[in-house]
């Protein structure tokens, strides 16, 4: 690898951002039209997605090439670190909104609808006889989505918790191997992490099928189904993205990228994975268990 430069690297003009804007815009216009029931919505979305993938390949590819050519000094590295850190913080706040909705439903809206506190009048006059509780009968006074059974914590979800925690450990193992320059261990550790992530997603899929087919629990099952599927769904999306990122890092490791003391790409992906892990712990405790 080339020597790191001394001055801060300011790239020349780049066409990737504008391609990114076109991509996301196409994706959004397609999605909005799909939601409005317009026939060309879905194909437009696909086109947008394709452009987006092209942009991601191109943009990250450029960054990786520049990095391998030694264009980035320590200061650039630190900018990437701050960037990643605050990006993850923004993701935390995104999940916070959904956790907030969950706590609000459990602490306030269900009890109020059932007549607690200042909800007496609401219950008496609007929803007389409704006795909501969490997690059973938490689909509201109109039993939206029909009867359902809540998802038990100590089956698949507990196994999934173990899987994600293990994947965190294998990832840390890979990191230590990278720092000690044990490339074989690094690749095995990373591979195990990605594999565990994939298993997690498969089990999540099994759980969703179980919910829809046997528990009568759907996205439309009132606020319980809503918070259950929105939280686990967004989390699952993040696991998928995290696993893809880690897979890219795995290929880069196989291609010989990263050195024991310079490997922000690896670390950034690892931070992201740990973040996804921590969100899951929150989910396990508040969505499944308590």
């Amino acid at each position: 690898m080339a020597q790191a430069e001394t001055s801060y690297y300011v790239p020349h003009g780049s066409h990737w951002p504008i391609i990114g804007s076109v991509a996301v815009c196409t994706l959004m216009v397609g999605f909005a039209n799909y939601l409005n029931g317009v026939s060309w919505g879905t194909p437009t979305m696909m086109v947008g997605l394709a452009i987006l993938l092209f942009m991601l390949f191109g943009w990250f590819g450029t960054v990786i090439r520049e990095n391998e050519a030694g264009a980035y000094n320590e200061q650039v590295d630190l900018s990437f670190r701050w960037g990643m850190f605050w990006f993850i913080f923004s993701e935390v706040m995104f999940f916070a909104a959904f956790f907030g909705a969950l706590f609000y439903a459990r602490q306030y809206s269900i009890p109020w609808l059932s007549g607690e506190g200042s909800g007496v009048a609401t219950n008496t006059f609007l929803w007389s006889g409704f006795e909501g509780s969490w997690p059973h009968a938490a689909n509201g006074p109109e039993n939206i989505g029909g009867d359902y059974k809540p998802m038990p914590a100590w089956g698949l979800p507990a196994i999934n918790t173990a899987i994600l925690l293990t994947s965190g450990a294998t990832l840390t193992w890979a990191h230590h191997a990278l720092k000690a320059n044990h490339r074989a261990q690094l690749i095995i550790g990373l591979f195990l992490t990605v594999a565990l992530g994939a298993i997690f997603m498969v089990l999540q899929g099994v759980e969703y099928v179980e919910a829809y087919q046997h528990l009568g629990l759907t996205l439309g099952s009132g606020i319980y189904g809503t918070t259950f599927f929105m939280l686990t769904g967004f989390h699952g999306m993040h696991v998928t993205i995290g696993a893809i990122i880690l897979a890219v890092i795995l290929f880069r490791c196989i291609a010989g990228h990263f050195t024991p003391d310079r490997h922000f790409g690896f670390e950034g992906a690892a931070w992201y994975w740990h973040f996804v892990d921590v969100v899951w712990l929150g989910l396990f405790i508040f969505v499944y268990w308590l």
Binding site: C25, F31, A96
Partner: protein
């Protein structure tokens, strides 16, 4: 490999007439310029909508537009002014100024910087295009409360997704600012030596990253409630429409500080220059900004006093809100103390800064009145609220932005602007802004509701006056456009110092500054 080596020829600048330069640029000054022009264009679009509203309100009765369109004008006007004018203008200023102020070459993440900007034209095209859709544009108010907003026609998913898009842009812009401030300062530029504009933007960026995702979450819930059968805001399914208000205002109140904190930084730069005295109480300004940011997270339900809340909640949010007056008071005190016995002169930037201090304080006082829960029961959703937030936004944020343009324009383009026209712009703006918004206090206290296209007869005179003021204010801004274009195209050459007593690293660079600000870090005393 060639892309990597290209960095060595950084003196090569493409012609300003090349489209590619503007589309692909990674330069903080180019991007700053793009942001500022975008913001100015949106200001005229949003202002045009305000004039449609004011035209309809010139006299009672329905004259020009139908109520649905009227409502979509108030909604769009607000979204454009907030997300399309004030936020991009401040991001533009941040782009231009922060690297120069901290002694950096450029922003920390230049490619992402380009993306932050180039999202905006797409997002706003999407937003504006909804006006032509079945069911018209969004008309439920910029607060997007369900269930009303869920009755929007085809526009709904476009509006929601464009808000996601704008949020993406703001978050990336904010991340860039934080990375630049934390990582790109020249050696010796300690945090407590940073200009206040940099400090206020650092804290603003933190607020942005903390709350834009919450808004994204909230509007996502609207989307799924409408299209995917979720029950977040549906009481029949165990949800609650009030939940949206909590989420929205958890974003919304910090958002109003996002719209004002950088102004505080601007005013703290301008006042010392024209008072020819160092800023009074630098450290207390930093701490005051931090306290305001902290408090902004625990006051949101002052927008919801009339929704129904336990007494303890009312009291908590009332007192927490009133607490914000303390750090804000510290700031106003410090500006005045800076001017005390200063050798003051009144060039255009200073005039706008003084206008800011006086009229922002008026908005602050009406804000204090609104913070009192029992009183707010009366004022809520009346024109008094409209008067309040326009005082803090128009002679507040907008005046601060205009002041900074006059203050830094000679630095940016190398030419002085026309002082006479600048002063004319100031006086016309100040007179008309008060004619527009001051009467709204009276009609509000007398009970005229906001967001209505028609009103009772007794409100006629003040409304006619407000409309006259609005047109005057709107046309006065054309002077601004003219002054800016004229200065860019030529005029008296500016020195690098520009203002006799201006302090800060940006004044050590030539006017206009080199394409890459500080290629070698400056020495900081």
């Amino acid at each position: 490999m060639s892309t990597v080596a290209a960095d060595d020829h950084h003196d090569h600048v493409e012609s300003p007439y090349s489209i590619k330069r503007w589309l692909f640029t990674t330069n903080h000054k180019d991007i700053g310029t793009l942001y500022l022009w975008f913001s100015l264009i949106m200001f005229f679009i949003g202002g045009f909508m305000a004039l449609i509203i004011r035209t309809e309100l010139f006299e009672p009765g329905m004259q020009f537009v139908d109520p649905q369109f009227f409502n979509s004008m108030t909604t769009m006007h607000a979204i454009i002014m907030v997300f399309g004018v004030v936020m991009p203008a401040f991001t533009g200023l941040a782009n231009w100024l922060i690297p120069m102020m901290v002694g950096a070459t450029d922003m920390a993440l230049p490619r992402m910087n380009n993306w932050s900007f180039w999202i905006l034209p797409f997002a706003f095209t999407m937003m504006l295009s909804t006006l032509f859709m079945d069911g018209g544009g969004p008309a439920g108010g910029w607060t997007l409360y369900p269930p009303l907003t869920l009755q929007t026609g085809d526009a709904l998913p476009f509006v929601i997704l464009s808000i996601h898009f704008m949020g993406l842009s703001s978050i990336m812009g904010a991340i860039n600012v934080i990375a630049t401030v934390l990582n790109m300062r020249a050696p010796g530029m300690t945090l407590m030596k940073m200009p206040l504009f940099v400090w206020t933007w650092l804290i603003t960026a933190y607020l942005l990253i903390a709350v834009m995702p919450v808004l994204a979450g909230g509007v996502t819930m609207l989307l799924t409630d409408k299209f995917f059968g979720t029950s977040f805001f549906n009481a029949a399914g165990g949800g609650d429409p009030v939940l949206f208000q909590h989420i929205f205002w958890f974003f919304g109140h910090p958002e109003v500080y996002i719209l004002i904190l950088p102004s505080f930084g601007v005013i703290s730069s301008i006042v010392p220059t024209f008072a020819r005295k160092p800023l009074f109480g630098y450290a207390s300004m930093v701490y005051a900004t931090g306290s305001i940011a902290f408090l902004s997270f625990i006051v949101w339900a002052h927008h919801m006093f009339t929704v129904g809340m336990p007494l303890a909640g009312q009291l908590f949010f009332m007192f927490a809100t009133m607490l914000i007056a303390v750090p804000t008071g510290v700031k106003v005190f410090n500006w005045i103390a800076t001017m005390w016995r200063g050798a003051m002169t009144f060039e255009t930037p200073m005039l706008f800064a003084l206008g800011f201090i006086v009229m922002f304080s008026i908005g602050g006082f009406s804000g204090l009145m609104l913070a009192l829960a029992p009183v707010d029961f009366q004022y809520h959703d009346t024109y008094f609220v409209v008067a309040h937030f326009h005082y803090v936004l128009v002679p507040g944020s907008i005046f601060a932005i205009v002041a900074s343009v006059y203050y830094w324009l000679p630095k940016w383009c190398g030419n002085m602007y026309s002082e006479g026209l600048g002063k004319l712009h100031f006086w016309l703006s100040t007179i008309f802004v008060n004619i527009t918004f001051f009467p709204m206090h009276f009609v509000g206290l007398a009970g005229m509701p906001r967001r209505i296209p028609d009103y009772a007869l007794q409100f006629s005179d003040f409304n006619a006056l407000a409309t006259i003021g609005a047109f005057g204010f709107g046309f006065s801004q054309l002077i601004f456009l003219y002054v800016v274009i004229k200065a860019i195209r030529g005029g008296e050459k500016a020195t690098s110092q520009v203002w006799e007593n201006a302090e800060g690293l940006e004044w050590t660079l030539s006017s206009p500054p080199p394409y890459h600000s500080f290629t070698t870090p400056p020495v900081i005393k």
